[in-house]
Symmetry: C2
Subunit: 224 residues, 2 copies
Amino acid sequence: MNVLIVYAHPEEKSFNAAMKNIAQKVLESQGHQVQISDLYKMNFKAVADRSDFLGVLDSDFFNYIKEQFHASKTQTFAKDIEDEQNKIRWADFILFQFPLWWTDAPAILKGWFDRVFAYKFAYGPGRYEEGLLKGKKAMLSITTGGGPEEYGEDARKGPIMERLFSIHHEKLFYCGMDVLTPFVAWGPQGKTPEERERLLCDYAKRMEELESIPLLRLSLVSKK
Amino acid sequence: MNVLIVYAHPEEKSFNAAMKNIAQKVLESQGHQVQISDLYKMNFKAVADRSDFLGVLDSDFFNYIKEQFHASKTQTFAKDIEDEQNKIRWADFILFQFPLWWTDAPAILKGWFDRVFAYKFAYGPGRYEEGLLKGKKAMLSITTGGGPEEYGEDARKGPIMERLFSIHHEKLFYCGMDVLTPFVAWGPQGKTPEERERLLCDYAKRMEELESIPLLRLSLVSKK
């Protein structure tokens, strides 16, 4: 299987980096091919703007989606976008590794979706079951600041799955991907070195059993 | 009242720009002071990294929140962050104008939160009712691609208020702000010029009646 790991953390000694490294190690030891988009190391451009296109459809009025449509037809995406799209074309499985900042992806990863998941490349006109990345799988692997007690029906932040809906349902499934149950590393910063080690072992085990991770049921509406 | 408009759209002839302009016009005509952070025009840096700090607490291990804490104590934030924080200190009311991209803020605005809403500036240790921006008001003014039929209990994207929870509850209210009912301009791109004009009039009226816009009830958990 071809695996793309999209990784968004600025510190290479971080727990997120350790998770990225262990996933790569386990997956390669199982014979999978792994590529990594290390967004911070690549100095990935987060902001969607005119320079994302080599050609221009309408120089008088900049409409990002219309320019994406044009670039898809004429193959005139900026090189960094095209490179990411080629990795996605190659990948059977995309694994996202990032810390939850403000209950959401860091801006560098949000920008990756804004720029790379382009109209007529990732979706359009087909969406959801007919999204253009149909047949590919995706999974989130995240770290949180707080513990699970902060997330839940009666907790202030609400259930973690609701916080991840915008990525699971409205980005990955929107483009037709099958989404696996996420791996959530709760508050690694507040743990002891032994606890962190155990968490990494749990994650390695999850990666070893990748084929048996259940898919999320994202077929209908937000509540399903 | 001092009003900061944080505006995130790359096209100055866009509907978002028109909304930003009309809000400024109405608010100034009522005697309010208005400042605008036009994130695209400012070429605002979206990605949180080491260069956000003039000093450094730990050069061996980069922990963004710990560096924010240090920068708050020593006043060593990068100038663009300090400038935004000063605008927030000055403001009684912050109005956010942006298009919903992937049911979320564009990366340039997500990065504004990542970088500007720093630990010990916007929150910490107090959060929610005790957040450090307590006493200030905030409101989202957004445009969508689709219509309201795409958002709702039985619609695929789920209720719009759930999609906005991550900003309303987990960024604005998290930092202690009172959050006003948002203004949602549904799918302006699919509308006729007359309909768009009417939508702008509705928005102008909303701005005229700012004092009477109800606050969201964000006091407890995600469902409230």
